[in-house]
Subunit: 338 residues, 2 copies
DNA sequence: ATGAAAGCGCTAACAA
DNA sequence: TTGTTAGCGCTTTCAT
């Protein structure tokens, strides 16, 4: 049978209440040192493990947090999850990962499940700009931190890479290579990352004297290889840019595929820049020039903010922006001389 | 405040015990149909969600299962997890993922955490052939299913891809291309997959009349790109095979890197075959010829077996082997004519 | 078919 | 400093 607190108390010759106090850091000071030692010994001898359900039922805390990602198979997310998990487990929390499959309805379900599980907090990497589920959850006062993607008009802390700086770096790099006709395959505008990168792109492109024709910006419906390819075909049907700045790496991969379809070589004919520096993009053909975002650190930082909120009731609402850097590989080259 | 069963019972005008019976499928038959309806309506109206902790405290079940993977950042595992999660959530279970970072000590910790969380069962993709932690957990009667990697001498159900057939297909493909000097960069022998693929390789190579020199088999310490590259260098220092069968895709990627370092082209000089068909290997340069394993289905099947064990106490100990197929891409070519 | 009551293992307010 | 007591929300015998 399972060892309970009562067993420990009996063996130590104290009341279960005392044993409880002796075993919990916060209440340990209420118990004499000698008793603490006796109880701890007994606990050790019996290999006592507190029953988290009993504890949770009493305290209304579970020391579990939910992490919601849009797609775990997207190599972008495991490092984030990993970074978060390390911090969370350090603080004594267990992580429950939910995958929404990029679906608003499933996000709602996941949120409901996690709520009924009484998670103490949430890390959310799947937020859309309009996200009723998140808004509602927020109103209930559940501690939560957004990762990368923000929700409009909700006062929630967020941790992101520096999207603006990333776009600046990418455009500057292409400018140095002589490109002035730069297209942008934007992420979906319903995601804050898609919108903000697109906005920054338009702005920076104007500031640096590039071609600002509207047909150089094509929006992808999702951050996927397929949409990247589709958008590229659409782009090429009406323009002939010498460079493409993709909304993320998956889109960039799709773009390179579509360029090849049309008989265009990357980087000789068209340069392509990604965003995120996902694992394996250095092995692609050509190796992808992209913006590196410190994913694990983003996850870790979000976890730290969440832990502070959960434990010390310090609810920040500010956005933490982590620095990004340009990684130049083989998918960008000087503008071709006609 | 949280809606409890008592609230539902009050609204329906019945006793909480009755409400409980009405809401649980298994006890519903003990309650009159009319009452069931009334209670269900009340529950719906109040958006009642049972408190899993209270339930668990009473029933000693958590409806949570732990999924242990060696490395979530390895693109191989998210599909497995996903497949499992879909099945598990369908059966009402919540998934807790633990990442061991390929470390036996962390596996032990993860197992301990999950045990103290009282998960109802475990899916384990991180098993080593000698794995004391798993053996102990098994002795405690915790339902668990192994995925891919088996533990020696432990009577546990497992779900794997058909490693033997995979190796056969790969070697046959290379043979058809005229290769007779085929090397194998084996996975670690301490993992069942490493050992069994290596054994099968040796056997098949002998049966098909290939070169069986022992120096054509080099073992990698881990399933990683780095080890794949290292092993390839070691291999090339003492042999000049025309084809390499890698223990998995990561090793294959490392092999291609190392070949390039030595000025050898893939596939013109040396053909390379991977194993697993991880996401993105079709985008590599060259696109990797490999063995496709139905990862999501492996995860799903393992989940089904686990659910059966947990719910119906049917503990199988047999291994389920799912069919694999050869995917020919660009990394294999006819043997070069000298 | 339903109500009553006990209790899962723990913590916390109160007493001593 | 320690013991006592109540109760978190649920399920499940036992009565009725």
């Amino acid at each position: 049978m399972r060892v309970t607190l009562k067993d420990v108390a009996e063996r130590a010759g104290v009341h279960p209440g005392t044993a409880s106090r002796a075993l919990n850091l916060e209440t340990q000071s209420l118990v004499s040192e000698a008793t603490v030692r006796r109880v701890q010994q007994a606990a050790k001898a019996l290999a006592y493990r507190p029953n988290p359900m009993a504890r949770g039922l009493k305290t209304n805390r579970t020391t579990m947090v939910g992490v919601i990602v849009p797609d775990l198979s997207n190599p972008l997310f495991p490092p984030i999850v990993r970074g978060a998990e390390v911090e969370l487990s350090r603080a004594g929390y267990t992580t429950i990962i939910a995958d929404t499959d990029n679906d608003a309805e499933r996000e709602r379900t996941a949120l409901a499940v996690l709520q009924s599980r009484q998670v103490d907090g949430l890390l959310i990497a799947s937020a859309r700009r309009e996200d009723e589920a998140i808004r509602q959850m927020h109103e209930q006062g559940v501690p939560m931190v957004l990762i990368y993607r923000r929700t409009d008009g909700v006062a929630l802390p967020a941790v992101t890479g520096d999207d603006q700086r990333g776009i600046e770096l990418a455009v500057a790099h292409l400018r140095e290579l002589g490109h002035t006709s730069i297209a942008h395959l934007s992420g979906p505008r319903e995601l804050s990352t898609g919108l903000s990168r697109q906005r920054t792109f338009r702005q920076v492109v104007a500031e640096t004297g590039c071609d600002t024709s509207p047909e150089l910006v094509v929006e992808c419906g999702t951050y996927s290889v397929e949409e990247g390819a589709r958008a590229t075909r659409e782009l090429l049907d009406r323009a002939r840019p010498t460079a493409i700045l993709a909304g993320n790496d998956q889109i960039a991969v799709g773009a390179i595929d579509a360029l090849r379809e049309r008989g265009l070589r990357c980087p000789e004919d068209v340069s392509v820049v990604g965003f995120n520096d996902m694992p394996f993009v250095d092995k692609l053909s050509p190796p992808l020039t992209t913006i590196r975002v410190p994913h694990a650190e983003v996850g870790a930082e979000a976890a730290r903010i969440l832990v502070r909120w959960m434990t010390q009731r310090i609810a920040s609402t500010s956005t933490t922006t982590l620095p990004v850097e340009l990684v130049v590989r083989g998918s960008t080259a000087p503008v071709p001389r006609p």
